[in-house]
């Protein structure tokens, strides 16, 4: 069985290699090859899962040591995989959703001449993501960690001819690199503290380190998580990442890659358990981001960017839950999985809408689409109900548990976190209802002539009819709707399935060592509050966007709205603090290097031997004289040694 883990990772890796190196000969079949490799990986994942379920809970973890990677005196890194319940959960999510999105992309990227390469990158992503969750040590995890970053870079910038896409890709990579500095330093700290960075060595004995050491490691891991999972203060790249094709947004920037930070923190639970200060930092980051993302999501008129804000916010919930410690880990992962279903579904739905609307992304130019795209409407609607936590659907169960756990943290901290989580739930209901109403209900704001002003914002995308032509909204082909339907099933039933008999909790127990927290208020009251918050959010949104007609051009809006449209000024801040400062710095250094460092050296040279005049001679072609003078130097050496011997 262990050997199958290699196949799990190897299949998509091979696929990426074949598709990217294969060249144009594979253009016609490329996407099907990509699907074959992705499906293989999923099938192997299922086999491993079936095998795992058949074993006792404590004996389920598999280990596969492939080879010694970096063997140096005192330092040992291996290429070895570990498949336990936590990794298994991710494997099924990644390969399952990944395969569905491969199928979806066949239709979505149909008109793109570089479709083969797109599938190559998708396969590369799957392989890297699987390495990330299967690695048995932090250094190999790092390989997957940056590998998904690379795939994300390539896919955000897939339409490279668009400067905005190329810029967004670069930005994503750079911001992630800042987070990677954190992961690097965390690994180095583990090495100096424990002499190793293998999970099996560091984690069980994490408690033998001092609280200070664990806090330092924990904070560095948090920095890494902030980068990958778009948490404040490293959140700014995710909105721009929507430049990528929509299937990419669904798979990488919603369902899987961006949740890697949650995985990292949960995996490193033993470190955080011993570092309360780091945990406080984690919950703070989570709580701030969940509100931040939600506010941004309220203001965006671009459907994908609204969903991106939502992703940020939902991951904020997960990070917060993970920061709660053993009372929260399992719920962080549970919300991660349900979110994987409904958010991927929502993005695919958004893609389907764009597909039928000439790649228009401005929701103010949608309206009344439910009649034209019934399947998209129903699947998107189910995803919507799931994310706002409509009782009975998956988001209800997973979010409710997190809010409960937040209160159970205890003390003032518990009250604050719980209240923030409730507030977040209300805002979530508001902005998602807004998306729903703007897109599928109300008047048709697209009919007739689309506003030519908007053309610069429009995604030219995949060779669709020229921008500016009147859209003819239509339902998407089966290859796109079937994945949406399947994901909708997940959005509806996953939560119930996981919660009955505490199935999910028991499944992850050997990894997360769950503890029941004591909430100051009863579970029933928490649920009541959550549902109330949701109803309030929905009602306000309905009052604002459902009852009255929506203007096709956004009103000026309040100060907060305008700030939120600009992502709460994050880019303005980054621009001033880093981009401008950095550009002055580099320009200053270039000047300095030329005038001062180089100038001083040249000046010294001229000073020492009147070299400058000789330099002119050299430039006139008397270079050989220098060769002679050099051998002259050797002669001096010989003479000097002779003299030395004579003296001695």
């Amino acid at each position: 069985m262990e050997n199958l883990i290699g196949v799990l990772v190897g299949a998509p890796l091979l696929g990426a290699l074949i598709l990217l190196v294969g060249g144009r000969a594979l253009d016609r079949l490329g996407h099907w090859l990509g699907i074959v490799f992705a499906t293989t990986s999923f099938a192997v994942g299922c086999v491993l899962f079936a095998d795992m379920v058949g074993k006792d809970a404590e004996e389920r973890a598999l280990h596969d040591h492939l080879f010694s990677w970096v063997p140096v005196e005192g330092f040992q890194a291996d290429v070895a995989f570990q498949l336990d319940q936590l990794s298994m959960t991710f494997v099924l999510l990644i390969t399952g959703v990944g395969t569905l999105i491969h199928f979806y992309s066949v239709g979505y990227m149909e008109h793109d001449e570089r479709r083969r390469r797109f599938f190559g990158y998708l396969n590369l992503f799957l392989a890297a993501m699987l390495v990330l969750v299967l690695a048995d040590n932090y250094l190999l995890l790092y390989v997957g960690w940056e590998g998904v970053g690379l795939a994300s870079y390539l896919l955000i910038g897939f339409w490279q001819h668009k400067p905005s896409a190329a810029t967004a890709a670069k930005k994503a990579f750079l911001v992630n690199r800042v987070g990677d500095v954190g992961l690097s330093i965390a690994i180095m700290l583990m090495f100096t503290t424990f002499g190793t960075f293998a999970f099996s060595e560091v984690l069980p004995d994490a408690g033998s380190a001092s609280e200070g050491q664990l806090t330092a490691i924990g904070l560095m891991l948090l920095l890494a998580a902030c980068g990958k999972s778009a948490q404040v203060p490293l959140q700014s790249w995710l909105g721009d990442a929507m430049e990528g094709p929509t299937p990419v947004s669904a798979l990488i920037h919603a369902a899987t890659m961006v949740t890697a930070g949650v995985y990292l923190i949960t995996r490193s639970g033993e470190i955080f358990n011993g570092a309360p200060a780091a945990q406080t930092a984690v919950v703070t980051v989570g709580a701030v981001t969940l509100v931040f993302g939600a506010i941004v999501g309220c203001a965006k008129d671009d459907i994908k960017k609204a969903l991106a804000g939502s992703t940020m916010s939902q991951i904020g919930y997960m990070i917060m839950a993970a920061g709660l410690g053993p009372i929260g880990y399992v719920f962080a992962i549970m919300h991660l999985v349900t979110h994987g279903f409904f958010k991927a579904g929502l993005f695919l739905g958004a893609g389907s809408v764009m597909h039928g609307m000439n790649d228009e992304v401005d929701m103010r130019k949608y309206g009344g689409l439910r009649k034209y795209m019934p399947i998209t409407f129903v699947t998107f609607g189910l995803g919507y109900l799931a994310i706002i936590g409509f009782p009975g659907l998956s988001g209800f169960f997973s979010k409710d548990k997190i809010i409960e756990a937040a209160f159970a943290k205890g003390g003032t901290e518990g009250w604050i976190l719980g209240s923030v989580a409730l507030l977040g739930a209300a805002i979530t209901a508001f902005y998602m209802t807004r998306v729903m109403l703007l897109t599928f209900f109300g008047e048709k704001r697209w009919a007739g002539a689309p506003d030519p002003q908007t053309t610069p914002d429009v995604e030219p995308a995949d060779g669709h009819p020229a921008v500016g032509a009147a859209p003819h909204p239509h339902e998407s082909p089966l290859s796109m709707t079937v994945p949406m339907i399947l994901l909708a099933f997940g959005s509806v039933f996953a939560g119930l399935l996981f919660t009955v008999n505490d199935t999910f909790l028991n499944w992850l127990e050997p990894v997360t060592h769950h503890e029941h927290g004591d909430s100051p208020i009863s579970a029933g009251v928490v649920t009541g509050c959550t549902v109330t918050a949701m109803v309030v959010g929905v009602t306000i949104a309905w009052l604002m966007y459902g009852r009255s007609p929506v203007p096709a051009v956004a009103p000026r809006g309040s100060l907060l709205t305008r700030a939120a449209r600009r992502d709460l000024l994050q880019d303005d801040f980054n621009h001033v603090a880093f981009v401008q400062t950095g550009s002055y710095l580099t320009r200053g250094l270039v000047y300095l290097d030329h005038k001062v460092v180089d100038g001083m050296a040249n000046g010294t040279a001229a000073f020492i031997g009147g070299v400058s005049s000789r330099m002119r001679r050299l430039q006139n072609g008397y270079a050989r004289s220098y060769a002679v003078s050099m051998f002259g130097g050797t002669a001096v050496l010989v003479a000097a040694t002779l003299l030395m011997r004579a003296v001695a």
Binding site: V70, V72, T192, G212, D593
Partner: protein, 579 residues
């Protein structure tokens, strides 16, 4: 006694002579001659690598002959794991350099643009093609000798002598500047070549003084002066040789100065951007990937082994200079407008990493530094050679003259990206392993410095991605339209380098196995041991087992987890109290 090392160095030297002798009209024959000789050298170097036993003697394949008896100069060769790895790298890269520069030295077939290039007269006299390839082989021979020499004087001769062919390679052969002012280009080239020569000569002269000084000291204390590394080490071991504190420091500085110019270390780096910018891409690769490695290699072999105490004394300053190099080089790379100068500054940053790793004086640091030399050679070769292909297509080195290349030449863009990703040390590609080893090796002794150097990885990503974005993405520029993709010869140059980057990224073990024991020897020369981890996990394991036995761990799993958590807490407390 074996002659393998002599043969490895002599083959390219003979090749140089033969290539230079090919008649003027037979340019293609000259190219093939050079390629064949470089491949023969590769075979010999490969044999040396194969014959080298990592767990055997420190220096192997040794040769020793008296040369100039009067001055104690010996013809002594020998390689440790570090040297044999670098000789292999050199021999590996030269065929790629030759193949990439296949047409670089051909005389212009027809006067482009109607104007006769300024260098035309010289080129006819020089038989440029023959000269170009002969000089490359000459450099190879001298570099191999520098790596193999275990006699200070012998090393010095080749360390200095390689400046001559390099000077002519930089000054005599430049890019075809399509449409640009040829006379101006020739002037720039000439300036770069002279600057290269003067900087390195200055270093060489200072080193010469130190070499003489070393001879004087040995002559004084041992009776007979010697340049032999083995003899000097043996004498010091036996206590017969004890260089005074200040004397050792002065000698160390003399050696280090020369190596720091060659490496190059901030603030002695300014010759490199000129030299790499003005020379053709294959020569730029020769400079940064091959010749400069002699500088960092020499720090390991000569500075640390001959002057261990002075090395220790100078370490803090060198480490700070290395850290400055890392950040400074990277930031300047960000600010460059010229592709080749950008890569040159990136190399300065990378040399900072190498020197940092060497002087961190840990197993990880020095293993990383040595592996870094190998990986940097390959990755820079890949990036620079593709850049050269790109530049020759457009006749311009300016980043702003490109845009949208990926649309018209996707293979070129793809290989350029892989080279760039290797340069920014993406995990999965070879440079990541070496860079991480350097960082972790530095961090384990100097935490703050390790953190500062780690920040360098962000800037590394910045200059690579900016370069890629500005040249390859965006709308296709009019001048780029119709740019041909890589030709078969060019793919044959780049593909093996990329394959090697991937292979060594996933499986660096074969190289590390060769390097690791040699690094162990070097560290024991300088009396350094690796810092121990704060926590001895073995002891913790034993303790836990003992505790487990005492408690009789028959309780349920949940209970066991509970007690463990409790133990954890108390453990943390006691540790906290210690601090």
């Amino acid at each position: 006694m074996s002659f393998l090392l002599t043969a490895t160095a002599a083959t390219p030297a003979v090749g140089a002579v033969v290539t230079a002798a090919v008649p003027a009209g037979r340019r293609t024959a000259a190219k093939w001659t050079a390629l064949v000789f470089s491949l023969a050298t590769l075979v010999l170097a490969g044999t040396a690598l194969g014959r080298f036993d990592p767990d055997g003697d420190r220096y192997q394949l040794t040769e020793s002959h008296t040369w100039i008896k009067e001055f104690g100069v010996r013809y002594e060769l020998g390689v440790d794991g570090i040297a044999v790895a670098l000789i292999s790298l050199t021999a590996l890269l030269i065929p790629f350099v030759i193949a990439a520069g296949w047409n670089d030295a051909d005389p212009p077939s027809s006067p482009a643009g109607g104007k006769t290039p300024a260098g035309a007269e010289t080129t006819s006299r020089w038989r440029p093609t023959q000269g170009f390839f002969a000089l490359i082989l000459m450099v190879e021979a001298m570099v191999v000798m520098s790596f193999a020499a275990t006699d200070v004087f012998l090393f010095y001769i080749f360390f200095e002598a390689m400046l001559i062919p390099m000077y002519f390679l930089i000054g005599g052969f430049g890019d075809r500047a399509g449409g640009h002012d040829e006379a101006e280009a020739a002037k720039q080239r000439s300036y770069a070549a002279v600057k290269f020569l003067l900087y390195n000569l200055l270093g060489g002269l200072v080193m010469l003084a130190a070499v003489v000084g070393l001879y004087a000291v040995t002559a004084d204390q041992l009776g007979t002066g010697t340049f032999s590394l083995q003899e000097i080490l043996a004498a010091r071991e036996a206590g017969r040789l004890d260089i005074s504190d200040n004397g050792e420091k002065a000698l160390f500085l003399g050696f280090f100065f020369a190596f720091a110019i060659k490496a190059p270390l901030w603030p002695l780096h300014t010759w490199l951007p000129n030299a790499m910018g003005e020379s053709t891409a294959p020569v730029a690769v020769l400079i940064t990937a091959v010749v400069d490695k002699v500088g960092t290699f020499a720090m390991l072999r000569w500075c640390l082994q001959l002057f261990p105490e002075a090395s220790d004394w100078a370490t803090p300053v060198i480490l700070v200079l290395a850290a400055i190099s890392i950040l400074y080089g990277a930031l300047l790379a960000v600010g460059q407008r010229d592709i080749k100068r950008l890569i040159a500054y990136a190399s300065i940053s990378h040399f900072g990493f190498i020197i940092l790793g060497i002087f961190a004086m840990t197993s990880q640091g020095q293993n990383g530094a040595t592996l870094y030399m190998v990986n940097h050679g390959i990755s820079t070769a890949a990036l620079m050679l593709v850049a050269g292909f790109l530049i020759s297509r457009r006749g311009s080195r300016l980043i702003a003259d490109f845009g949208g290349v990926q649309k018209v030449a996707p293979v070129l863009a793809g290989t350029f990206l892989v080279g760039g990703l290797a340069t920014l040390s993406l995990p999965g590609l070879a440079p990541f392993v070496s860079e991480f080893l350097v960082l972790v090796g530095t961090f384990s002794r100097y935490k703050a410095l390790g953190v500062v150097a780690t920040v360098g990885i962000v800037f590394g990503a910045l200059y690579v991605l900016l370069l890629y974005q500005r040249t390859m993405t965006g709308p296709v520029k009019a001048e780029v339209e119709g740019m041909p993709d890589l030709k078969a010869r060019e793919i044959a140059v780049v593909a093996p380098l990329i394959a090697l980057l991937l292979f060594l990224g996933v499986y660096p073990k074969p190289v590390l196995n060769v390097i690791d024991p040699a690094v162990g020897h070097t560290l024991s020369d300088v009396n350094k041991t690796d810092p121990k981890p704060d926590i001895d996990l073995d002891a913790v394991h034993k303790q836990r087992k003992a505790d487990h036995g005492a408690e009789g761990a028959e309780g349920g799993h949940a209970e066991a987890a509970g007690t463990e958590a409790a133990g954890t807490e108390s453990g943390a407390e006691t540790h906290g109290g210690d601090k």
